[in-house]
């Protein structure tokens, strides 16, 4: 038999798991990983899995991870676009799995892009 608190915990955990099926326009933060041949070759799959992992760890709701094709700047792959509602799109380049926790913590959760990982920073170097 489950207590009320246990039921609540199940609700919360399951909700973050099936959250991906909700179509909430304008409320959802989208993490889009470039997964064309160039992206996959540069290591996009572990990056994407790292995002999924991190979202699960934090039981984040209203965040989805999806893929997209090649945008033409194959030299900068793996690339990740983060769309936070109400903010401009931010593009991260040369993303590695170990960079993911920081992007999620600072940008996805707190709305502050990690400047040093963005395409703007990469172009200045």
């Amino acid at each position: 038999m489950k207590s009320l608190a246990e039921l609540e915990a199940i609700r919360k955990a399951t909700l973050s798991r099936i959250n991906v099926r909700k179509e909430e326009k304008g409320e959802t933060t989208r993490v889009v990983v470039g997964m064309a041949t160039c992206g996959i070759a540069a290591g996009a799959r572990p990056v994407m899995l790292a995002f999924v992992d991190e979202i699960q760890k934090r039981q984040l709701q209203h965040v989805t991870v999806s893929q997209t094709g090649c945008v033409g700047m194959c030299r900068l792959e793996p690339m990740v676009d983060v769309y936070v509602p109400g903010q401009e799109k931010v593009t991260y380049v040369h993303v590695k799995p170990e960079m993911v926790p920081r992007i999620v913590a600072e940008h996805v959760v707190n709305g502050r892009p990690v400047e040093e990982y963005t395409i703007g920073a990469a172009d200045n170097n």
């Binding site: 038999m1 199940i10 399951t14 099926r21 959802t28 997964m35 994407m48 899995l49 699960q56």
Partner: protein, 598 residues
């Protein structure tokens, strides 16, 4: 419990299951494993999405791409293109019948079929995995039971249902709250809650879809009802012809028991409630409440007179509250969101929403839920997409064998209990069968009466003998042997049966005849007086002939089983109507459209 970046929802309702969705699920799992995606993408079997016509239906989230008519060989493409590389498989994406628009990036709610719908009873169908209680919990499941048990008195629960204006969805339209109150007021050492899932109307499948897609919503509501009226046991009477519904219901009850949502001392409040399933053997009359309860008791499924009503003396002689599946599916939402929220939808006397099963000559065959007061025109044209192949709409049959046929002139009737009765039909359980110009209304009436004669339990004479006599007259009429005075005889029989039959089945049995007589009397008259079927449907009244478009190819003569067609090669052929069997084989074979029937 892991997070997956994408969910592939495959419909596991009856419609899609019979068009092969189980194979799709296997194939998806195989292909995902092959491509190393099985840790990233999850395949879920859900309940009915409603758009059965386009089945099997597959929806891919997070983007919400709606694939229709997916075949096993399409699965590879969806996996390698969409799931691996993120490119939608455009040619499989659902296309709207009317607008030819593709749902490329649009959300489900933007498709015409869903746009006019408001899903309360079907809220979880096609969204959650019905065999996983956690997913039901996540959609605020069992929160209403928690609220009722921990913060509401029994009287408050009944009052909330009463104020919501919810009426019985099985067809009668009796105020649900009143039923609860009557059973609550009955004094007894044991009371029962029962659920009528013996859906028997031809073409109705809303209860089936709710049980298959969201069984917990019924279980939760029955527990709430048990608390309200003071019952510790409940029975769900479901027909054995619904194997998927029975299986998911069994799984759901087991899971609820395991979580302590059914059983002893629920939420530590001292409230006990247990549920049992009873299978019906498919007799239509067992949907009648007294017959249903006899069947649960193990007796012969025959109705008895009321009063006493079940609220006073029902199952095993104890006060029993019997509601329909769809009625229960609304209860948890009312408790959770309040009576006012529910009563804000619908018409003055019919609140909330109603699920309809669209069938017959309609583009979007399937299940829809719309607010009460939506017009028939909106349901049939905007949601249902109108009649296929450009045929002209003739009538819509509502309410099953107890209901009636409404013609085009009544299409702007806002649908609710009282309006439909006034129009000469009834709500019934919510089947809607659309007919076009090719349907003969006399034959439709004959079809329903044939069903009634088959299903009459035989206990009372008006139903057993009366409907049989009516059927005989109708059979004569469609065979071209109708006589002057047949219509009057039908009307007299109908009146007598309505007034004297024992149960609801018999009392409403003549309705299909009465309503077609009311709106399509001219068709009856054409059959009887002119021996002509205006819809060119009744075989016995058809005459095939060959026009001068005939090129003398001899194809028709060769296919005719009766040797009724004669003619020289390259000369116009001729049909001997005395030999013709009216099978229509020649017409199908003719490549020049030279054969006509009239």
């Amino acid at each position: 419990m892991d997070i997956y970046r994408a969910h592939v929802l495959v419909c596991g309702g009856t419609g899609c299951s019979s068009s092969g969705s189980a194979t799709l699920i296997e194939r998806f799992n195989e292909k995902l494993a092959e491509n190393g995606l099985d840790k990233e993408v999850k395949v879920i079997r859900t309940g009915c999405f409603g758009l059965c016509e386009a089945g099997p239906v597959v929806i891919v989230y997070p983007d919400g791409t709606f694939y229709s008519r997916v075949k096993p060989e399409n699965v590879d493409e969806i996996v390698t293109e969409h799931l691996l590389k993120g490119r939608k498989v455009e040619h499989l994406v659902y296309t709207d019948h009317a607008t030819h628009e593709q749902n490329a990036s649009k959300a489900l709610e933007d498709i015409n079929f869903y746009k006019h719908q408001h899903r309360i009873a079907l809220r979880n169908c096609g969204v959650i995995d019905p065999e996983n209680i956690d997913e039901y919990l996540a959609m605020d499941g069992y929160r209403a039971l928690e609220k009722a048990l921990t913060s509401m008195t029994r009287e408050q629960v009944i009052d909330e249902i009463l104020k919501s204006g919810l009426r019985g969805r099985g067809g009668g339209g009796f105020p649900t709250g009143l039923k609860w109150k009557f059973t609550y007021n009955s004094q007894a050492d044991q009371k029962y809650v029962a659920c009528n899932a013996d859906e028997g109307d031809p073409g109705a499948f809303m209860d089936r879809s709710i049980l298959e897609g969201d069984p917990h919503s019924v279980i939760e509501a029955m527990a709430i009802a048990g608390y309200a009226i003071g019952a510790s046991e409940g029975y769900i009477y479901v027909r054995a012809e619904y194997p998927i519904a029975v299986k998911r219901l069994t799984v759901a009850i087991d899971q609820a028991r395991e979580y302590g949502l059914l059983g002893e001392n629920i939420f530590g409040t001292g409230f006990n409630f247990n549920l049992f399933i009873r299978l019906g053997a498919g007799a239509f009359v067992c949907g009648e409440e007294t017959a249903l309860m006899h069947s649960i008791e193990g007796k012969r499924g025959e109705p008895t007179t009321r009063p006493p009503f079940p609220a006073v003396k029902g199952l095993f002689g104890k006060p029993t509250m019997l509601n329909n599946v769809e009625t229960y599916a609304n209860v948890a939402q009312i408790i959770l969101h309040g009576a006012e929220w529910y009563a804000s939808m619908g018409t003055e006397k019919s609140k909330g929403t109603k699920v309809f099963a669209l069938g017959g000559k309609i583009n979007n065959t399937g299940l829809v839920e719309v607010p009460m007061g939506t017009t028939l025109r909106t349901i049939i044209y905007d949601v249902g997409g109108g009649c296929p192949n450009g045929k002209k709409f003739k009538a819509v049959q509502t309410g099953g064998p107890s209901g009636g046929c409404l013609p085009e002139s009544l299409l702007d009737t806002p649908v609710d209990y009282d309006n439909l009765i006034q129009a000469g039909s009834m709500m019934g359980s919510g089947g809607m069968i659309v007919m076009d110009e090719d349907n003969c209304m006399v034959d439709i009436a004959r079809f329903y009466l044939d069903f009634i004669v088959d299903e009459s339990c035989g206990k009372c004479t008006p139903c057993r003998v009366g409907t049989k006599r009516m059927l005989e007259i109708l059979n004569r009429i469609v065979e071209g042997k109708g006589e002057e005075g047949d219509i009057e005889k039908l009307e007299e029989l109908a009146k007598t049966i309505k007034a004297t039959a024992l149960c609801g089945l018999g009392q409403t049995a003549p309705n299909p005849v009465l309503s077609t007589l009311r709106f399509f009397r001219d068709e009856y008259e054409a059959h009887i007086r002119e021996k002509r079927c205006p819809a060119h449907h009744c075989q016995a009244l058809l005459n095939y002939s060959i026009t001068d478009k005939c090129r003398g190819c001899t194809a028709c003569a060769r296919v005719c089983p009766a040797g009724a067609i004669t003619g020289e090669v390259r000369q116009q052929h001729h049909i001997d109507t005395t030999k013709c069997l009216k099978c229509g084989a020649c017409m199908e074979k003719c490549r020049f459209g030279a054969i006509i029937k009239a």
